[in-house]
């Protein structure tokens, strides 16, 4: 099998990996780079569990060939260093139950602008499936992060 060298920035540091050009970004992240925070739920771009940021845009890393990120800036959940306020909010508001969708959810939510409406949040997260929460608690976490009022029926606890 042909291995190419692919160079990109991962969570702020330059990485130079050898991988088959068609290798999926998710596999390179998890297996080559040892960053297992990016999760695989379907492998076909449908669940969003594998969401990472490429040059600031959320993408499903299970359908991106690694060759495509050459020269790009890739950010995974580990890149937030556990310091992003959304991370604590997802736990406190129970936006994470089993947690398998959570890294992807958080990465997708990062693309939201400063004063999102509930519909903006819904749209931003439409590609991310959660089977545990029914999404309401995720909205609560995201709206709190953005300092937006929480709609009555999204149930403040």
């Amino acid at each position: 099998m042909r291995y190419d060298r692919v160079k990109f920035t991962l969570n702020g540091a330059v990485r130079d990996v050898a991988a088959p050009p068609a290798a999926r970004l998710i596999d390179v992240l998890r297996e080559e780079c040892g960053l297992t925070g990016t999760k695989e739920g379907c492998g076909e771009g449908e669940c969003g569990a594998c969401t990472v940021l490429v040059d600031g845009e959320p993408v499903c890393s299970c359908i991106v060939p690694v060759a495509q990120v050459a020269g790009a800036e890739v950010t995974t959940i580990e890149g937030l260093n556990g310091e992003h306020p959304l991370q604590k909010l997802f736990m406190d508001e129970v936006g994470a139950q089993c947690g398998i969708c959570t890294p992807g959810m958080i990465m997708a939510a990062l693309s939201l602008g400063p004063a999102p409406s509930l519909d903006d949040v819904r749209t931003a997260l439409a590609g991310n499936l959660c089977r545990c929460t029914g999404y309401s608690a995720i909205y609560r976490a995201v709206m709190k992060w953005r300092g937006m009022p929480i709609p009555e029926t999204a149930g403040a606890t």
Partner: protein
């Protein structure tokens, strides 16, 4: 400071939000191989030959002859093999196992299997092979029907449902000193132990199961992981190396269990003014190709089949039957969502025929303390059917909206439901589950086999122990379930983890408190060293149950719910848009309100998917739409606001008054949706109510 009743910081820590939490696929072990399962491609027949069409160098290959003791999964019956010997009973049945250190080589390996095919049986109504039959008789239903003013009949159908935990199944078997360790995404570590003991026999006594962080279960990781663990263990034994088996989404959907499809028939007698006088119910469940848990799913389904109503003369008959489809199994609700869908849709049809308001019909018949259920159980004060009904009707202004929406493309409907907590009848007594508390230098450690699968086990158990022991919440730790180190608290199923295991923990804590004699854990430790308290569950002594007649106290207590769904239907495409859901539920007392709310919101979403979206298409005995592209679960755009109302009516036998909660929210949404559709003139009697199905059920009135 009291912890129970407050949304305290969760014991999960921050790992789930930082990517630090380790799920099965996140673990690697030195020298680890990857495992793959070669499966049948016919629904029924016999294996004639197996040909390995690849260079086998570096491969570990396992078939049924490698099973050390018994090739049978030890569950309720031992009919299901770990690996096919010759007889194939369903599509995607495991036949051969391969392992290799290189994933590419592993997936490229080709195996040719030739079969002698036989005609498969797919229609449960044609099946004569009955896994379990139940007949619950109270009074004389035939005589009561004969005297009834009105008789209403109907047949209701529910489809398969796939769990779609976002983390697919995965297990790793790791040979270790003198034994083997299994790490996996499992709900019930001790079920896996039981299955492995049967498979391995006395030659391999030292097996332990460690639950890794688990990305959702919903019943789907109750029994099936025992099979995957068996496979990983067989490969690990043969290769002498750790073996990891992670299913991809398609394999998980095609091969693992689903919710049982059901056909439920009702024949109901009433007085002219709407009092139920006779309920004759027949329940048919499609069990699939092996028994798995079908008998208990049928049992719970039948016990809930008459709904939360009082009726002196009832008869509920049920059968779970064989078909040549992958075995169906545990799924949140465990038979009750199917039968409660049927009875609740039937109630609205009765209301329509009698010209009675559906709320009024429920007011007349809903169970009250002192009433007897279909199994003859006399309900106690913790029965809340009327309380949840009145609250939901009032909160949603149901009657006014019902009137105003008539003739528009907007509509509203409700369902009243209940769910028994814990194992059925004598189940908890027979189970003898245990919990353990261990003193640490700074506090206590909870050591049980109850798994955290997202629902909040760790946190809620720690809260109970905190308050019973009157120590700081921070000083309570929760051990990771490892069967070699924790007490067997029974499976994490049946809405029992809070009510039953939580109760044992409360008692352990009270006993420990007495033994500490006023000393802090640190003081006690310094003076006398360690201290462990282990106790067994004692169900309430008043529980009487007869497993032959199915009469008696089916459950120690029930949770109660009333869901109201408002929705819009596109008059041209019959696309349904849910606008608002109100979920009023009473489950004793919430230990952690935010986690409890999460159970209701999440269960309600699963129920909405069951009602409208989640259609499993079976073709030639296999799921044909086995991807998330064409099997759709609710997304952010499908789920409306859920207004959650948690009412309290404590159960004296639960910890701090708590009942079970996990399954209750699953029972209500589907009938509420379909009853809303009925109010528009759409005579739907089946779910999922896809646009095609609705279009065939009438035009919007």
């Amino acid at each position: 400071m009291a912890a129970v009743g407050k949304s305290v910081a969760r014991k999960d820590g921050i790992g789930k939000a930082t990517g630090g939490a380790k799920y099965a696929d996140d673990l690697t072990f030195p020298g680890m191989l990857f495992g793959r399962t070669i499966r049948s491609t016919i629904p029924r027949g016999r294996v004639r030959s197996v040909k390995l069409d690849f260079d086998t160098a570096g491969f570990t290959i396992v078939d049924h002859r490698d099973v050390p003791a018994k090739n049978a999964v030890d569950l309720m019956s031992q009919d299901q093999p770990f690996l096919v010997e010759t007889e194939v009973r369903h599509m995607a049945e495991p036949i051969l196992l391969l392992a290799h250190e290189d994933k590419e080589k592993l997936s490229a390996a080709r195996v040719e299997i030739e079969y002698d095919e036989e005609a498969p049986l797919f229609d449960p109504e044609q099946s004569t092979q009955v896994f379990k039959a139940i007949d619950i008789v109270k009074g004389d239903v035939a005589a009561a029907l004969a005297k009834a003013d009105v008789i209403v009949e109907g047949t209701y159908r529910t489809g398969h449902q796939e769990h779609i935990y976002i983390e697919p199944n995965g297990v790793i078997a790791v040979p270790e000193d003198g034994g083997i360790a299994i790490y996996g995404s499992v709900q019930c570590p001790f079920y896996v132990i039981k299955a492995l003991r049967c498979m391995l026999g006395s030659a391999h006594p030292n097996v332990r199961v460690i639950q890794t962080e688990t990305g959702g279960g919903f019943g789907g990781k109750e029994e099936y992981p025992s099979i995957i663990a068996g496979h990983a263990v067989l490969l690990a034994l043969k290769s002498g190396r750790p073996v990891k088996i992670i299913y991809d989404r398609v394999e998980d959907m095609v091969a693992t269990t689903k919710r049982h499809p059901a056909i439920v028939r009702h024949r109901t007698g009433l007085t002219r003014d709407g009092k139920l006088v006779a309920m004759d119910v027949d329940v048919l469940l499609d069990g699939g190709a092996y028994v798995t848990l079908s008998p208990t799913v049928l049992s719970r389904g039948c016990i809930h089949a008459a709904g939360p109503y009082s009726c002196d003369d009832t008869r509920i008959q049920g059968r779970a039957v064989f078909t040549n489809t992958p075995p169906n199994g545990a799924f949140r609700g465990f038979g009750a969502p199917q039968t409660e869908f049927a009875v609740e849709v039937h109630m609205d049809r009765i209301a329509e025929q009698l010209g009675i308001d559906p709320v009024e019909l429920r007011r007349i018949n809903a169970l009250r303390p002192g009433d007897r259920t279909a199994t003859g159980q006399t309900l106690r004060d913790d029965c809340s059917a009327h309380m949840v009904l009145e609250e939901a009707v009032k909160r949603t202004d149901f009657t006014r909206k019902r009137r105003e929406y008539r003739g528009t493309n907007r509509t509203i409907g409700l369902s009243l439901f209940y769910h028994g907590a814990g194992f059925t009848g004598a189940g908890e007594r027979n189970l003898k589950s245990k919990a353990r508390l261990e003193l640490t230098l700074t506090g206590v450690r909870i050591a049980t086999g109850s798994t955290e699968i997202g629902q909040g086990t760790r946190t809620m158990h720690a809260q109970i122990v905190t308050d019973a022991l009157a120590i700081p919440y921070e000083s309570v730790e929760v051990a990771q379930p490892d069967t070699s180190r924790v007490a067997d608290s029974g499976p994490t199923v049946a809405s029992r983890t809070c009510m039953v295991v939580g109760k044992i923990l409360e008692e352990c804590a009270l006993e420990m408190k007495e033994k500490l004699g006023g000393l802090t854990p640190a003081e006690y430790y310094a003076r006398s060293g360690g201290l462990t308290v282990e106790r067994m569950y004692e169900p309430p002594d008043w529980i009487q149950w007869d497993d032959n007649t199915y009469l008696g106290d089916a459950y120690a207590t029930y949770g109660w719910g009333c869901d109201v769904v408002e929705l819009e239907v596109d008059p041209d495409t019959y696309e349904v848009r849910p606008l608002r859901i109100t979920a009023v539920q009473e489950f004793g007392r919430p230990i952690h309100p935010a986690l409890a709310r999460g159970q209701i919101e999440g269960g309600t979403a699963q129920g909405m998917g069951y009602a409208l979206l989640e259609r499993v298409v079976m073709r030639d005995g296999a799921m044909a739409n086995s991807t998330l592209t064409n099997y759709t679960i609710p997304t952010t755009l499908d789920m409306p606001e859920v207004d959650v109302v948690m009412l309290e009516n404590p159960y004296p036998g639960g910890p701090f008054g708590a009942k079970g909660l996990g399954e209750l929210p699953m029972d209500g949404p589907a009938p509420a949706v379909v009853n809303a559709l009925r109010h528009m003139g759409l005579d739907v009697r089946e779910i999922p109510a896809t646009p095609e199905l609705i279009a065939a059920c009438g035009t919007i009135a």
